[in-house]
Symmetry: C2
Subunit: 437 residues, 2 copies
C-alpha cells in the first residue's frame, strides 16, 4: 500500500454517495484515524452521463469497472452496489489482484462468504463486511475480535428493520399488515417489492453470516430455515399481548453438539425478553458466549449513514493494519458444519384455530394433540362475538414439544370435520436462560 | 515477538485465575484464534506460599514482580491486580521494556490513561484495556475501531453493576437501600466497603475512559462530576414510577462546542429510555455518533468470566497484530479538552421537600423557584398519611432549567421557615432525541 490509501467505490446509490461525501467532508479526521491520507479514486456507476448531485464535486465516475478495478494506486475496493452479480465478480477480481475489499453485500457474503474469505487469505488481502449485518451496529467486529475468546453457543437477533417496523406498527397501533407495510413503503423503510424482507430472506442472509463467524463453520443462506411475516394478523397480536408476549421476526441459530440449527421465523417472545423491546427499524443481536455469558448489540439496522459508518470503519481498520492486513483475519470458516433439521426443534408453540362451538369438540382437539405427545400449557376459547353460534376461536399454548410432532398434530387437526381451515402455528421462544429476561 | 506468545499474569484473584484456566483449557482454540501458541509463563501473587487451587496445575507463581516483568520470552503482560499501585508501576515498567500490556484496571486508566498510551506508543507497544469498562461488553473495541468513522457526540451509560443491582431491587421489590445493599454484599455484587461503587467513583473511572476515547481528548477521573446513590429513598422510587420514570445511576458525557461535560449521578429516565430497561448487574452504554446515529451495547458489567473474555480478547488481538501492534493503536488522546462546569448544565429537575400544610405555603415555594427563573411542569402535594396536620410532601418537576439556578433555588427554599430540611434534588434525563426512546 502506498503512503496514502487509494480507494475505488463500486456503487453510488444512497450508501455510496454517503461514503463518498463522508470521505470528502471528514478527510482530516479520517486521515488521523487511518494514520495516512485516504484518496477516493472514483466511483463506478450504471450510467456515467447521469448527473450525481449527491457525490462530491469533481469525483471521477465511470461505468467501466475495469477502469477502477485495474487502476494503479487503488488499494481498497468498496462494494456497495448490492445484489449478487456483478458484485460478486468484481469482489473476486479485486481480491485476486491483491486489493483489499470492503463490502456491505449480505447476499454475496451469505452465499459465497467462505469461498471469498479463502480467496482473500490466499491473496493476502483483507475482506471486511461489517456493513453486511446490522447496518451501523458493530457486531461482526465484536464477534470476531472482542469476543474471540468465547465459544459462542447461540445467536438471537431481530435483524430486519422493515419487518420490525411493520410488526411494531401492528402491535402498537393496531394497524393491519397491509396498512403497516404501505406506510413502511411510503417512509422508505420497505421496497416496492417487499418480498426479500417480509419473507425473511434478508434476515436469513444476515443470520448465515453471523452463524458462520460465531460457530466458525461454513453456514450458508440455504442452511437457514425461513418463514416470513405475511400470515400474521391482528388477532395474533391481541392474543400475544394477552399471553404476555411480543411478536418479532426472530433470527436464531444455536450450536448443538457440533451441529447448527439456524432459523428465521415469527416468534412469540416473552415481554421481558431483551429482543421483545427492540422496536421500529432498530435491530439487535444477542450472543451467548462461554465466558461473557450474554451480550447484546443494538442500533439502526439500515440507512445510508449507518451503513457508511460500518463501511468506513472497515476501511480505517484496513488502512491501519496495512500492509499486512493480518489483524483483519477472520476465523476459519472453511469447514462445513452439520445443519440440524427444523423437524427436531423443541420449543413451545402457539396454535390458533377455528372450531365448531359444541360439546366434545375440545376433547377431539386436545386428543389429537395428546396423540402426538404434545401437552398443553393453556387453552383459550372465544366465541367470535359477531357471529355467535358460528365457529369459536381456540388458542392453545403448548409445553415444549418437537416441531415434527406439532406439525403432524396440526395436519390432523385440520383434517377434523369440526375444525375450520388450517391451524395457525407460531413458535414461542422462552428466552435462553442466560439473558437478563 | 517469538513464534509463540509469552504471557505474564499479574494478579491471581478471581479474574486472574479465570484467565489462567481459560488459557489452559482452551489452548487449542485460542492458538487458532491467535495464529500462534500462547504460553503463560507464570503468575504474580501476593503470597507465593498460599495454595492456589483455582490456578492450572503446574503454573509457576512468584511474589517477585521482576521475575516476570524482566523474563525473557514474555511478550505480553496481563495486569488484573486492580488498585492504582503497584499496578501502575508494573504497567509502566512493562511498556518501557517494549512489552505489550493488557489491563483491566479502570482506576489506572482513568487517572493515567493518556500518559500510558503515549508511553506505549513511544515504545511501539500495545496497551489494551477493553476489560476496564463494562466487563465483558465489547465497548472500547467498537468505539475506537468499528465506529471510528463517527464523530461521537455523547456517551450515556449505566455502568456500575453494584448500584444497578441495588436500584433495581429497590424499584422492583420495594427493598430499602440498606436491605438491597446488604443483599448485594451477600451475593458478591458489592464489596464490604461499598463506597467506591455507591459514591459513583467506579462509574466515574469508566466514564472518564470512555470519554477520552469518544472525544479524543484527555478526559480524566477528576473531570467527572460525581454524586452517588446513598441519598435515594423508597419515596423517590414511588414518585418516579408515578411520574413515568426509572431511577438509574447515569454516567453521561457530551461534547459541546469542543468542550466536554461528564457527570455521574442518579437520574430519572423516562420508562421508554433504553437505559431505563437495563436492570440488575447488567451494564449498558449508548453512543450518539454522527453517522450511526445511535448504538447501544449491553451485557454483564463484571464477573471473572466476563472480564476474562475481554482480557483474552485483547490478548488475541495483540497476538494477531504482532509484531507491529499497529492495528491496536488508539486514537490520540494527548490533548486535554476543556471541561464544562456542572453549574451550566440545563436539564429538568425533580424536587422533593416537606413543607407546612397551610395556605400561602405553595405560593412561597413556587415564588422562590420563579425568582430564579425555574418554571414548573408539575407539582404534587401529599399529606403524610400518618401525621395529618404535620408537614406535607411536595414533589415538583421543573421545565428545563440551569443547574446553578436550581441549586440556588433549593438553598432559598431550605431557608424558608415553612420548609422542613433541605429539598431533595434529582436530575431528569429526557432522552437525547436520537435514541429509540
Amino acid at each position: 500500500m502506498s503512503a496514502g490509501v487509494g480507494v475505488a467505490l463500486l456503487g453510488a446509490g444512497a450508501v455510496g454517495a454517503q461514503v463518498a461525501r463522508t470521505l470528502a467532508d471528514d478527510a482530516d479526521a479520517l486521515e488521523r484515524a487511518a494514520g495516512r491520507p485516504i484518496r477516493l479514486a472514483g466511483a463506478l456507476v450504471r450510467d456515467s452521463a447521469k448527473p450525481r448531485p449527491g457525490l462530491p464535486a469533481g469525483l471521477p465516475v465511470t461505468d467501466d469497472p475495469s477502469v477502477l478495478l485495474e487502476a494503479e494506486g487503488v488499494d481498497v475496493v468498496i462494494e456497495v452496489m448490492g445484489g449478487e452479480q456483478p458484485a460478486l465478480a468484481y469482489i473476486e477480481a479485486a481480491l485476486r489482484s491483491g486489493r483489499h475489499v470492503v463490502t456491505a453485500n449480505k447476499k454475496v457474503m451469505a452465499r459465497r462468504g467462505p469461498e471469498l474469505l479463502a480467496l482473500a487469505a490466499a491473496n493476502n488481502a483483507a475482506l471486511a463486511f461489517e456493513a453486511s449485518v446490522g447496518g451501523g451496529i458493530p457486531i461482526i467486529g465484536p464477534l470476531v475480535r472482542d469476543l474471540a475468546a468465547n465459544r459462542i453457543a447461540a445467536v438471537n437477533a431481530v435483524i430486519n428493520g422493515t419487518t420490525n417496523y411493520v410488526l411494531t406498527r401492528i402491535a402498537r397501533d393496531g394497524a393491519s399488515y397491509e396498512e403497516a407495510l404501505a406506510e413502511a413503503q411510503r417512509n422508505g423503510y420497505a421496497e416496492s417489492d417487499p418480498s426479500e424482507d417480509v419473507d425473511g430472506e434478508d434476515a436469513a442472509y444476515k443470520l448465515a453470516i453471523l452463524s458462520a463467524l460465531a460457530f466458525r463453520g461454513a453456514v450458508r443462506e440455504p442452511d437457514v430455515f425461513r418463514e416470513g411475516i405475511r400470515n400474521l394478523d391482528a388477532a395474533d397480536f391481541r392474543y400475544a399481548r394477552e399471553l404476555g408476549y411480543a411478536i418479532k421476526l426472530l433470527a436464531a441459530s444455536r450450536l448443538e453438539n457440533g451441529a447448527v440449527r439456524a432459523r428465521v421465523h415469527p416468534a412469540f417472545l416473552p415481554e421481558r425478553h431483551p429482543l421483545a423491546k427492540v422496536d421500529g427499524v432498530y435491530n439487535a443481536v444477542e450472543l451467548e458466549g462461554g465466558l461473557v455469558g450474554w451480550a447484546m448489540f443494538q442500533g439502526p439496522g439500515a440507512g445510508p449513514g449507518a451503513t457508511a459508518s460500518a463501511v468506513i470503519g472497515d476501511l480505517l481498520a484496513i488502512a491501519r493494519a496495512a500492509p499486512s492486513g493480518g489483524a483483519l483475519a477472520y476465523p476459519e470458516v472453511g469447514a462445513r458444519v452439520p445443519i440440524l433439521p427444523m423437524a427436531d426443534l423443541e420449543t413451545k408453540y402457539y396454535l390458533r384455530l377455528r372450531a365448531a362451538d359444541r360439546p366434545g369438540v375440545m376433547a377431539q382437539i386436545t386428543g389429537a394433540l395428546g396423540a402426538m405427545g404434545v401437552s398443553l400449557a393453556s387453552v383459550i376459547q372465544k366465541e367470535a362475538p359477531e357471529d355467535a353460534g358460528g365457529p369459536a376461536e381456540v388458542v392453545i399454548v403448548t409445553h415444549r414439544a418437537r416441531e415434527r410432532d406439532v406439525q403432524e398434530a396440526a395436519r390432523q387437526l385440520e383434517a377434523l370435520s369440526v375444525v375450520c381451515g388450517p391451524p395457525k402455528l407460531i413458535r414461542i421462544e422462552d428466552g435462553s436462560g442466560v439473558s437478563p429476561a
